[in-house]
């Protein structure tokens, strides 16, 4: 519309998180705790035991290989794996918030200023997430990572595995921990730095903060490019320690990225519907919709690039990855494999194709929620076959995911309410107000 001469400019808006909203988040956590308890009881009572026996053969093979079966009971193992799984998902989304902000700075993008504070607040989970990640790794690493088993890299030990020993230069405890702390530290440091510059800009105005932010953002992008890829190898790919894929860093990044955009879109819509973000309109949503549509296809492209090469070459050491997910463990993962493709590709692709769909809140909401569920289950598919073999389940996993979701939302909205939703002195704010697509 003809908005060029519209001289009203955006003013500060402060989000107030009502006790009712916080109660809703607590309810999510409580629901998660209940599901978790039910799941643990069900697991201890041996529901799904027939499942366990059916996969005995696969177990036997694994046991023969390293005798690593002295691990935790199934329920505890499931709790540890799903803590790791959901935490990797939410830490990734948090880092994407900062990545998005940095990307917009470096691209000199104006349209996204309206939603910038949402992305800034998304990184609120980084610090608690980092602590949880370290704790889960230190306490439960034997259930997650085959390569952490004692003696697996010592020649002559009963556990010795030459392939894993060959990777000891990279996958050893000190170096792994250093990498984890450094990557999370970098992400956290740059999130805080960009946030501080942005808040100082709110107070003092001027373009100095903007130019400084561009430098900080550019440096972050370089570091993030390396660290996101390497963290994907460390945190996700190394559960399948014999297997490797050169596409994996991109694949995990694509999953995080599209989930982060879905989270941004969903938050923007909820804020808009609660009466905030007065100047956010269909044009901004249209751009977010294009991002979700485009990066769902990007994820599919990376997914397929990885799948097709492995399928075509059919090398046993590579194909085992899809063997486990397609029909392996008595078909435990087959349905989720196809569900994953449907919800992460077919669904957003068909629903977001037209211009009108990208401009309607209800369509964007449906697709954002589908993408978040879809990519959570994408990570499920990355972790479970390697760690749980055929003993996977859903009640504990969904329970823990809900606990994470509730906690994430509490911290996220808290940080969102700590500053104006509109960065009032951002030099491109007017451009964002008058954005047309």
């Amino acid at each position: 519309m003809a908005t060029l001469t519209h001289h009203e400019s955006a003013t500060a808006e402060y989000l107030e998180v009502s006790p009712g909203t916080n109660r809703k988040f607590l309810m999510i956590i409580v629901a998660g705790v209940i599901l978790l308890a039910l799941g643990i009881i069900a697991s201890i009572m041996g529901l799904g035991a027939e499942h366990h026996e059916a996969t005995g053969a696969a177990h036997g093979a694994a046991a023969a290989h390293g005798g690593e079966h002295a691990g935790s009971p199934i329920w505890l193992k499931r709790v540890i794996v799903s803590l790791w799984h959901s935490n990797v998902f939410f830490v990734g989304i948090s880092a994407i918030g900062t990545f998005f902000v940095a990307l917009q700075y470096v691209a000199y993008a104006g349209w996204s200023v309206m939603i910038k504070r949402i992305n800034e607040a998304m990184s609120a989970w980084l610090l608690p997430g980092a602590i949880i990640m370290l704790a889960v790794f230190l306490l439960g690493r034997h259930d997650l990572f085959h390569w952490t088993h004692d003696g697996i890299m010592t020649k002559g030990s009963a556990n010795y595995d030459a392939i894993i020993a060959g990777k000891s230069g990279f996958l050893n405890l000190p170096f792994y921990l250093i990498r984890m702390v450094v990557f999370l530290g970098i992400w956290w440091f740059f999130s805080e730095r960009l946030r501080k510059l942005s808040l100082a800009e709110d107070l003092n105005g001027g373009t100095e903060y903007f130019h400084k932010s561009i430098n900080v953002a550019a440096l972050f992008l370089v570091l993030y490019a390396v660290s996101s890829s390497m963290s994907a190898w460390d945190w996700v790919m190394s559960v399948d320690v014999h297997w490797f894929s050169t596409m994996f860093g991109w694949y995990v990044f694509a999953s995080w990225w599209v989930s982060g955009i879905a989270m941004t879109t969903l938050t923007a819509i909820y804020l808009k519907q609660a009466g905030y973000l007065r100047f956010l309109n269909a044009n901004h949503l249209h751009d977010l919709g294009k991002f979700m549509f485009g990066f769902s296809i990007f994820w599919t492209y990376v997914w397929f690039s990885q799948f097709m090469l492995i399928w075509y070459a059919n090398l046993p050491e590579e194909a085992v990855y899809y063997n486990q997910r397609l029909g392996g463990f008595n078909g435990a993962y087959t349905w989720i494999f196809f569900f994953n493709l449907a919800i992460n590709f077919v669904f957003p692709f068909l629903l977001m194709m037209t211009r009108d769909a990208k401009r309607q809140m209800i369509m964007l909401k449906i697709v954002s929620i589908a993408i978040l569920i879809g990519h959570w289950s994408d990570f499920y598919l990355m972790f479970m076959p390697a760690t749980m073999k055929g003993d996977n389940g859903f009640i504990i996993e969904i329970g823990i995911a809900l606990i994470f979701l509730g906690s994430y939302l509490i911290l996220f909205t808290k940080r969102l309410s700590q500053a104006s939703l509109i960065p009032v002195h951002h030099p491109f704010l007017d451009e964002s107000v008058h954005h047309t697509t």
């Binding site: 003809a2 075509y312 059919n314 211009r355």
Partner: protein, 174 residues
């Protein structure tokens, strides 16, 4: 065929945008607006409907996809079956890259040809330029005149809405 136009020359795109809204509001039909660069919101102000090119693109894409799948299934499955890498003759994952490429190929070529045809952008086509300054620093609103047109009224309307000059121009279209 000869057509006559009243040309309102504007200096500023902001003024122009509001003038276009007001002129259309006054019930006058605007033939076309010529500007040196695209102006955000002008399509809406002129009431131009969205292009239906995306719909055509969708069907070109479907044609390309159907052609690609038919071609590969017919060639590798029936006409000259070969075993490649121990895979079945009709191995769909292997067909996806070619299907994707041909979908894109058909879509973009179809769109370009359609767009050029409906915009009459083919070789030797002469584009009438009503006022050459619209390619430099002026914004031109063209209103078509017929025998009933009230040129004085139009001049007044354009002037009131910020036109710096109003000219009359005849254009012969071949």
């Amino acid at each position: 065929m000869t057509k006559r136009f009243a040309l309102g020359i504007f200096e500023d795109e902001d003024v122009l945008l509001h003038a276009v809204e007001n002129i259309r509001g006054a019930g006058v039909k605007i033939y076309e607006v010529f500007t040196p660069f695209p102006i955000h919101g002008m399509d809406d102000a002129l009431g131009i409907e969205r292009s239906r090119l995306p719909i055509a693109a969708f069907f070109y894409g479907m044609t390309g996809l159907a052609f690609a799948l038919w071609m590969q299934i017919y060639m590798l499955g029936f006409d000259w079956p070969m075993i490649i890498g121990g895979k079945p003759h009709i191995a769909l994952p292997a067909f996806i890259p070619v299907s994707f490429e041909l979908t894109v190929f058909f879509t973009c070529h179809g769109m370009v040809i359609t767009f050029y045809t409906i915009s009459k952008l083919y070789p030797r086509w002469k584009t009438p330029v009503l006022d050459v300054r619209s390619t430099d620093d002026k914004f031109v609103v063209a209103i078509e005149l017929n025998e009933n047109s009230d040129l004085n009224g139009l001049t007044k309307l354009l002037r009131e809405n910020g036109a710096s000059e109003v000219n009359e121009k005849e254009m012969t279209k071949n």
